[in-house]
Symmetry: C2
Subunit: 458 residues, 2 copies
Amino acid sequence: MAVRKAIYLGTFVHCKTLQELEICPNSAIGVDEMGVIAFVDRHVKDPSSIKSRPGWEDAETVAASESSFFFPGFIDTHIHASQYPNAGIFGNSTLLDWLNTYTFPLEGSFTSLSKASRIYNRVVSRTLSHGTTTATYHATIHVPATNLLADICKRKGQRAFVGRVCMDRMSPDYYRDENPETAVRDSRACIEHVRSIDPKFELITPVITPRFAPSCSEASLRGLGELHKETGVPCQTHISENKSEVALVKELFPKAKSYTHVYDDCGLLTSKMILAHAVYLSEEERALIKTRDAKISHCPASNTALTSGAARIRDLLDRGITVGLGTDVSGGYSPSILEEARQAMLVSRHVAMQDGDGAKLSTEEVLYLATRGGARVVGLEDKIGGFEVGMDWDAQMVRLGTVSGDGQGGLDTGLVELFGGEDWNECVAKWLYTGDDRNTVAVWVKGRLVHQLATYRP
Amino acid sequence: MAVRKAIYLGTFVHCKTLQELEICPNSAIGVDEMGVIAFVDRHVKDPSSIKSRPGWEDAETVAASESSFFFPGFIDTHIHASQYPNAGIFGNSTLLDWLNTYTFPLEGSFTSLSKASRIYNRVVSRTLSHGTTTATYHATIHVPATNLLADICKRKGQRAFVGRVCMDRMSPDYYRDENPETAVRDSRACIEHVRSIDPKFELITPVITPRFAPSCSEASLRGLGELHKETGVPCQTHISENKSEVALVKELFPKAKSYTHVYDDCGLLTSKMILAHAVYLSEEERALIKTRDAKISHCPASNTALTSGAARIRDLLDRGITVGLGTDVSGGYSPSILEEARQAMLVSRHVAMQDGDGAKLSTEEVLYLATRGGARVVGLEDKIGGFEVGMDWDAQMVRLGTVSGDGQGGLDTGLVELFGGEDWNECVAKWLYTGDDRNTVAVWVKGRLVHQLATYRP
C-alpha cells in the first residue's frame, strides 16, 4: 500500500546503543511511497531547502514543534489481546489461580465474534494510541476470532504478530484444544489466513503459540515444533514466570532436563522463539537460550502485579541474550510500553536492592528494550526500532507540555511539565517517568498515519 | 468562606475499614454552607424527593453519571512543592548524591519570588487536578517563598500543611540556615504568617520542618522541639530512608540510641510528627514510634526510584502505627496519590517476594492509606477521609470510561475501560490500576469546587 512521500522535520531521538541515546535536533527524514526512510539529513540550516530536493518537491512536510520530537514506535513483544477487558482486575491472586479465576472464562468467551470484534478493535486502537507500532499478540484458541484480530490489525495498520493459542491439557473443558492434531490443524488454519490477507507477511505475521508447557501435551508441543520447522513461522510462549509453575513443569515433564529443555526437546527453542517472563531460569537454561539465540520478552508490570518475581535483566543482557519488553496484558495492567519501560526501571531497582547497583537499568537502556531490543526479539532489527536509511518509518511524534510563565493553565496537554532549561536528555527522562498517551500525538507505521490525538493539530 | 448548599447524588465509595470499601449506590449527601456533610441518605428511590427536603429546596444538585462515583479527596502526607520541576529527573542517583546534584541547587533558587510563584501555582493546580484535597508540603528555607505557598494554597482552596525547611549544617553555603537561632526564628515567622491569613488554621496549617537529622544541628533540633511544644504546631521530617543516611546519622549523633531517638531526644517525636519513609527502622525504633504515636508517610515511588529500599508497611500496620501515603516529589516522580497508591501495591508485592504473601497490600488497603490513613497522619480523621455526617466535603468525582458496543471511538476520556458487567469493586480496581487525572472530573474542598476537568460538563 503506497503512501504519500513525506519529509519529517525537527528533533529525532532514537537509541544508538543499549547505553546511548542519539538526539538529532534540526534534522530531516524523508520517507518514500513505500514507507521507507530514503534520506536522513542532520543539522538542516534551512528547512525550505529540504523541499527543493530533487524528487521531493511534492512531498508532504510534517514538522515537530520545539517541545516535540520523533521517536521510534514502541514494540510490545508480549500482549494477550483477548485479556484486555480484565486489565487491572486480579486482586491478590497469583499466576495459576489467576488463570482459572479471571483469564480462562474471558478467553473462552471468544466463540462470540461480535465480542471478539469489540475487544480486538479496542486493543489495537489503544495500543496504537500508546505508540505501539508493532505488537506480538496472543489471541485465544478460536480460529475465527484469531483471524479477525489479524484482519483488524491489517485494517488499522498496526504491524502485528498474531498467535492462535494452543492448549490441550490442564485447561477447562470449555476452553481447550481437543487433541494435539486439532491444535496443530487450527494453528495451521490461522497461518493460512494471514497468508491470504498478507502473502509476504509484510505487516501481519502469524506466530505459533503454545500457551505454556503446563497447558500443552508433549505431543502437541512436538506437533507445533514440526509446524515451526515446516513453515518457518515464528513462535512464542511463556517460560519460568512463577515458582509454582516451574514446579508443575518439573512434575509434568519428568524426563526433561529443565523447563527450557521442554521447548528445546520439541524443536521450539530456536532463534525465532519469543519466551515471555524468564524470571526463574537456571544457569544452564540461560546458557541454552543463548546458544539457541531464543529471545526474551521482559514483562515487569505483570511480574510485579501477580507477585511472580523479578527477572534478572542485567544478567541476560550481559550474556548477550536478546531482550524486549512486553505489557503482558492483563497480567500486566497497562497496554502502554512507556509504562512498561518505567516499570522495567523500577523493577530493576528492586533487583538492585538485592543484587547491587549493577542491576539498575537506565532511561537509555529501557528505551532501547522498548524499541531496538523489541525489534531484535521479533526479528525485524533491520526494519524497525531506529531511524536509519532503508528502515521503515514506524514512528511516533512525542509532544511534551510546557509550563507558562505564571504557572497557570495548560493542564490538558498531559502530565509532562517542562519549565524551560531542561536539556534533551532530561526531557526524555521526564517523558519516560511522567508521560502517557497524551504525549503521543501522532503515530505512523510503514509511513502510514495510524493514530492521531484528537486534540493535536499538526 | 460560605459555599452554596449542595446535594450530591449517585454512587459514593469510601473506606469503611482498612480492609473494606463501602459502596453506596443511589445515595445522596447534603453539604451545608460551611462545606460540612449535613445528611447522608442511602438507597434513594426518588432523587426528586431529596430536593424537597425542608431547608434544601434551593440547594444545587450535582449528580454523578452511571459510570461515575464520588470518592474522598486524596491526602498527600509528604510532598516537596519546591522540587516539582525536577519530577522525573534523577538518573541513577541515590539519596545523598541526588540531594547535592539535583535538589539543593533547585531549592536554593527560591530566593526568587517570581520563580516560586510559577512553581507553587503549578504544583497546587496539578495536585488538585489529581484529586489531592490535602497536601503536606515541604517548601524551602526561604520565608517569603514559603509564605507565598501558603497564600497560593489558600487562594486555590487546597487544604495544606506548609512547612518552611530548616537545615543548618551539611548543606551548601548558598542554601542553609545561618544558625539554630535563625532556623527557629524563620520557622516562627512562617507560623505567624499562616496565623495572619488563617487564624484558626481552618484550611492552612503551618508545620515545623527540620529537613532531616543530617541537615540539622542538635541545637536546631532542640530549638524546633521547643517551638513545637510552645505552639502546638505539627512537625514533619524524614527518617531512615536510605542505608548511607542511617549510617551518617549514627556518626553525627553518636550519643543517640537510634535515628528515631535523635528526634525523640529533642522533643520532636510526638503524635503530631509525620515521619517520611521509615524504610530501615529497628524493632526498638518501631516500638518507640508506636509509643509516641508518631505518624508515618509511606513514599513507595520515591523509595523505588532512588533505590532507597522497600518499607515494611504490613508490619507497621500490624503494630497499629498510623500510615499514610506521600508522593515525595521529586524523589517520587509523580504528584498523583492514585499513582502512589498503585506503587504502594506494587512495592508491597516486591516485599512479599521476600517476606511472604502476608506483606501484600490490597486495593482496599492502599485506598485506605490514601484517604483515612492520610487523615489520621495529619490529625484530621474527624474531618476528612470519608463520607460521614459532620465531616467536611473534601471529595472528588471519578468518571470511568466506557467502551462502545463496537469498540471504536472514545479514546479521550482516559485509560480506564469498562466493557460492562464489571461490579463496583472491579470498577474501583480498574481505576486504581489504570486511572489518572482524566478520571478525576471535579474536586471539592470544604464544599468549594477547586478543580474541574476542562472537558467535563456536569
